[in-house]
């Protein structure tokens, strides 16, 4: 097994120490940070995302893989800057105003990072104005809104309206337990996803 495959394998199993050790070894062998990221970490996270979508793995497996990926990416960060590697796009993500649930949003964030996207996480209880402000500050390609409650999902419509009012050149995607395709269409959002892995793919398609 090549060292890149080994890194990918260990990352999928959530083995932080092994991932760090193998990345150090790969860098010593002269493998570029870009290659480690693009040929080991990101494909590994893709596999986890696909398995999650197909109910082959569950939330704990995704969480430990994402933790290992972040540990690896942290080591690679200075090398990637040196090599001039850029993010594939920027997403501003948050749970909408009035809603304090964040596990779904966090899963989406991890999947998006696993695609090589820069994700600006605004946390929970985020107003439409704050989404727009952060998107502008970060020159985002996508705003991703999450809601668990039917009582809060109405705020997504405000986000879409604010984006239009401010003439921002970006896409708004939405997700969460009560969200449906028809709701997405009714508020004029650009896309909706019923699971974290598909949300990341959707965001990628807009970057």
């Amino acid at each position: 097994m090549s060292i890149l495959n080994e890194i990918s394998e260990m990352m999928q199993r959530g083995r932080v120490a092994m991932v760090k050790e193998l990345i150090g070894k790969a860098l010593e062998e002269g493998i570029s940070a870009k290659s480690i990221l693009q040929d080991a970490l990101l494909p590994g996270m893709d596999i986890i995302g696909e398995k999650f979508k197909n109910n082959q793995v569950y939330v704990p497996e995704v969480l430990i893989a994402a933790r290992a990926m972040n540990a690896g990416a942290e080591i690679l960060k200075p090398y990637l800057i040196e090599e001039g590697v850029k993010d594939k796009g920027t997403v501003v993500i948050g749970t909408v105003k009035g809603d304090l649930h964040d596990i779904g949003k966090n899963l989406v964030k991890m999947m998006m990072e696993g695609k090589g996207l820069k994700v600006v996480d605004l946390g929970v209880d985020v107003s439409a104005d704050r989404f727009v402000e952060a998107a502008r500050e970060n020159n985002a390609n996508v705003i991703a809104c999450s809601a668990l409650l039917t009582t809060t999902m109405g705020e997504m419509k405000n986000v879409v309206q604010k984006v239009k009012e401010n003439k921002l050149n970006l896409k708004v995607i939405i997700g969460g337990a009560p969200i449906t395709k028809s709701y997405c269409d009714s508020i004029g959002a650009d896309g909706f996803s019923s699971d974290a892995a598909t949300a990341a793919e959707l965001a990628m398609s807009f970057c």
Binding site: V57, V59, P178
Partner: protein, 322 residues
Amino acid sequence: MTSFELVSKTIKGEPTPKTPLYGWVSFNMSDKICAKFGCVENFEDHYEFDLAHIFGGPAYHNTAAISQLHEQHIEITPEVYLNIPLPPVDNMDGYSSIINTLDFYKKSRKRFCYLQTNGIFECLNEVFGIENHLMYLLLYPEELKMVYQRQAEWNRKFALNAIELGVDMIHVSDDWGGQNNLLFSKELWHDMIYPYHKITCDAVRNSGAFLSLHSDGHILPLIDDIIKLEYQLIHPWQESAAMPYKEYLTKYSEKIAIMGGINIQSTLGFGKYEFLKAEIERVFATLKGKRWICCTSHFVQEHCSIDELIYAYDLAYKLAKQ
């Protein structure tokens, strides 16, 4: 027939003259209900609620020590947590609210009283944080089992103390489901959760009290094991989380009762009265007499108006009696 008898018979699957009625209305709706009815108890009396949902009891973890660690940004792993003793479960001062509530609902109203308790997973989410907790299931399984064992013993004693005070049913709250699937694999649940639920379940069933489970989300793959644990009632059977009533009626209604039916996520509280009426009628037509207690699927949300709540319960009350 008293409410206690009605609910007991329903849970056991015996014929009853009406459908038991209840609702999780007090949490968000108290002010609106009080303005219209004087107090929540008057609302409950007006609709002849058959159950009382009781909260309270001693603290189940050392709040001060946990807060201190959180403030210091120290990660509370299972190993760290095992060094923090649990508060005493036999300190009866912690049970005063349970005693007072039982006095009111059980003695004077003859209602079926069930006590909310935290399941092994839910009660440790506050300590670890849910995401860390989910990761610890895979990262520190052996240490986590030791934490669960300790907590399960505490939960068992708490349940038995409450039963001794007169609680009719121990209601274990432990969310295991997502919108379309389990939060963790069935195998992991079996290895990590099942044995520590069994400790409380066995104790409660051996005492002769009733036993129920609350879990939001899709838990269909676990129903057989939930029955094996001798849970007698599930709240809610969440139709909106890919748990069709048909599945319940064809496979499980002989073995376990369900409570719910008035969906607060999509039905009650949206001002769509015709839809609300049609939904309540549909649920009654589907579940009435099938080991079912009519109740809200969760706490009624604060966006529900008092008029809509009254509209829903006027109808449910009428249908329950038919």
